[in-house]
């Protein structure tokens, strides 16, 4: 597989940014300073980054309530995200969306989503826009194994096929919908579901950036070529609870430790690129340091940023009313 050096560096940086962003939120949330709910993407970085490395700002994605990683992977600005999560007026949504609603349409990011199964129908629509406006764009719906059971998702698999839309349905399967295992909640298989709609099915190991990048590349190329939708099934492990504060009593002791030890996408990436002589340890170390600084300064800036003004309460309900 040929991957441009620039893509490797950028992808590693995105994955590291997500990891540090989330680990820092894990710490900061525990202090009580961050309002609301926070759902962390740690452990799943290679999925969002591997997929989005095949996209440009012209392509559209929808995310889930575990959305920080997809936002960063799609190029949403980190300090604006941090400020948003702190509920500050400098946030990307001016403090009115929060963690579950970070969006940046200028980057083709149509929002994290607080509704399980909310994204797939929206991506059918974004794909319809790309198709009718003939802008060569594709739409990617990220959703979890939990959302794979939602009627809205299953309807979208049908609609995208019937309308032959350029959509990739990315099932990020971390084995849990909230606190319920997918072995309990998911009937049949994702593969059989895709095939049931006559849709190509691909799968990959979500801890392996290279596997995701290559498989997603094929899926996206298929959709972009006008051949219709594809399902991409990414196998993952979630390192933290459904939300911050979740004691995860439903997971066997050692499950997360094993995932961290054997399936850390950042470690696997580093090992692969250095052994293959593609990148030097020192280059990766420099990225690690730069990201540490970026996250640190984004937290300092977010804490110092102004709160929304009372007038913001009434603003932007409508374009005009």
């Amino acid at each position: 597989m040929q991957i441009a050096r620039e893509t490797l560096l950028r992808s590693y940086r995105a994955m590291r940014t997500i990891r540090d962003f989330e680990e820092r939120l894990h710490v900061e949330f525990a202090t009580g300073e961050i309002p609301g709910f926070v759902h962390l993407y740690c452990g799943e970085e290679a999925s969002g980054v591997g997929v989005c490395a095949n996209l440009t700002d012209n392509d559209t994605i929808s995310s889930t309530h575990r959305g920080h990683g997809h936002c960063i992977a799609k190029g949403v600005e980190v300090s604006g995200m941090m400020a948003e999560i702190y509920g500050k007026s400098t946030g990307v949504c001016r403090g009115k969306g929060g963690s579950m609603h970070i969006a940046d349409l200028s980057r083709g990011m149509l929002g994290a989503n607080g509704i399980v199964g909310g994204g797939p129908p929206l991506m059918c629509g974004a794909a319809l826009s790309h198709k009718l406006l003939k802008d060569d764009g594709v739409a990617v719906a990220f959703y979890g194994d939990g959302a794979s059971n939602e009627g809205s998702t299953l309807e979208s698999l049908n609609l995208a096929t019937v309308w032959k839309l350029p959509v990739v349905f990315v099932v990020e399967d971390n084995g849990y919908g909230e606190a319920t295992g997918s072995s309990f909640a998911v009937a049949g298989t994702q593969k059989a579901r895709a095939e049931g709609f006559g849709m190509p099915y691909m799968e990959c190991d979500g801890s392996d950036f290279f596997a995701v990048y290559q498989t997603a590349g094929e899926a996206i190329a298929h959709a972009r070529a006008g051949k219709g939708p594809v399902m991409l099934h990414v196998h993952l492990a979630r390192w933290y609870g459904h939300f911050e504060g979740d004691a995860m009593t439903y997971r066997a002791s050692g499950e997360v430790a094993e995932a961290k030890r054997d399936h850390d996408c950042l470690e696997l990436f580093r090992k692969k690129v250095t052994e293959a002589g593609l990148l030097e340890h020192s280059e990766l170390d420099a990225i690690d340091e730069a990201v540490r600084d970026e996250i640190e300064s984004s937290v300092i800036a977010a804490k110092a940023a102004p709160l929304p003004e009372p007038a913001d309460l009434l603003a932007d309900v409508y374009v005009r009313y």
């Binding site: 009115k96 969006a103 629509g125 809205s152 309900v317 374009v319």
Partner: protein, 342 residues
């Protein structure tokens, strides 16, 4: 200018806007109809009641999209398309089917702009027919405009005549916010003079269909016609009424309602929707709060009972407001005697 039905007026509004702006598309169940059928005839229905007839033939399959019967996916797709550059008009057929796709309207389209800090535009129109009077029973007869009115981020239009329907639909399609456009199914064959060319009617500006001194009647959709029938009869009995058609329930023209109540001192509200938390309740609260001192009599609401819409004609007639019930309500407020506190 020529006589056109409510159905024709809506069709013409869609046609004119599709000619004007290539980003305007329509989608819904059988908006063309016939695709995949054994005869090969397409544009077979043009909507279940023929409202979109001929649009597929003029604009083709890219812009007139038949959908599977899967409201969540295609209403969501309309929202997603609206947020990414198209101006979709999605037809939900019967508004009762909103139960299958409310999330996409309430949690997605309505909230994008606010949640995203003002950085989204969602120029989406959802057309649906509503209302009782066709023995369509409990799942095909509801008047659900209060449900949408309740949701910040949506605009809600309830056109009361062919002229109103055309101008308000063109306005809706050109509007940059999500608009719910609700057509009363009993009115599709109503006719009146409608201009051939394009025109718009602004949202949030009520129409006074008549002006009088004694009682203000606020009515929505088909009820406007019934209120005017009642007012005609009352006029002959020496009671003169103002009839207000708010046109849109969101935004609501509060000022016109309050001004008219200040003039007449008496208010009757005619609302076909279920009585709890409906427009009649909303306007009653508004007037009680803002115009209490102007009232010479208690507000009267002509509303259905708190039941599903029944099937049998005799029950459906009992259920619905009609001109006689409106007339009785107006007489009741006229006859109210103020008793001074001791």
């Amino acid at each position: 200018m020529s006589k056109k039905s409510y159905r024709q007026a809506i069709n013409e509004a869609l046609r004119l806007e599709m000619r004007r702006d290539p980003r305007v598309i329509i989608m819904g169940e059988d908006v063309a109809g016939g695709q995949g059928g054994s005869s090969g005839v397409v544009d077979a229905w043009g909507g279940v009641l023929g409202v979109t007839k001929g649009l597929y033939t003029e604009f083709g399959p890219e812009r007139v999209l038949d959908t599977p019967i899967t409201e969540a996916s295609y209403i969501g797709a309309a929202a997603g398309a609206a947020a990414t550059g198209l101006r979709p008009v999605a037809e939900l057929m019967f508004v009762d089917f909103v139960g299958c796709c409310l999330d996409q309207i309430m949690n997605q389209a309505a909230k994008f702009r606010y949640m995203f800090g003002g950085k989204a535009r969602t120029p989406l129109v959802i057309r649906a027919m509503f209302g009782a009077g066709f023995n369509a029973a409990a799942q095909h007869s509801q008047a659900l405009y209060p449900l949408f009115t309740h949701i910040p981020g949506l605009k809600v239009v309830v056109p009361s005549s062919p002229y109103e329907a055309k101008g308000l639909l063109i306005e809706a399609i050109r509007d940059d916010d999500p608009v719910i456009f609700l057509e009363h199914k009993v009115m599709y064959d109503d006719e009146e003079d409608v201009p051939d060319e394009s025109y718009t009617i602004p949202f949030g500006e009520a129409n006074l269909t008549r002006e009088g001194d004694d009682v203000t009647i606020v009515a929505f959709g088909r009820m406007v016609k019934l209120a005017n029938e009642a007012a005609d009869k009352l006029e002959r009995q020496g009671i003169s009424c103002t009839v207000i058609d708010p046109r849109t329930t969101s935004p609501l023209d509060r000022d016109t309602i309050l001004d008219c109540v200040a003039d007449t001192g008496r208010l009757v509200i005619v609302d076909e929707s279920s009585p709890r938390c409906n427009m009649a309740a909303d306007i009653s609260a508004l007037v009680a709060e803002e115009a209490f001192d102007a009232l010479k009599a208690p507000i009267r609401r002509v509303i259905p009972p708190h039941t599903p819409v029944p099937f049998a004609s005799v029950l459906e007639a009992l259920y619905l407001p009609d001109a006689a019930k409106i007339e009785a309500a107006v007489k009741a407020v006229m006859n109210h005697k103020v008793t001074e506190a001791a």
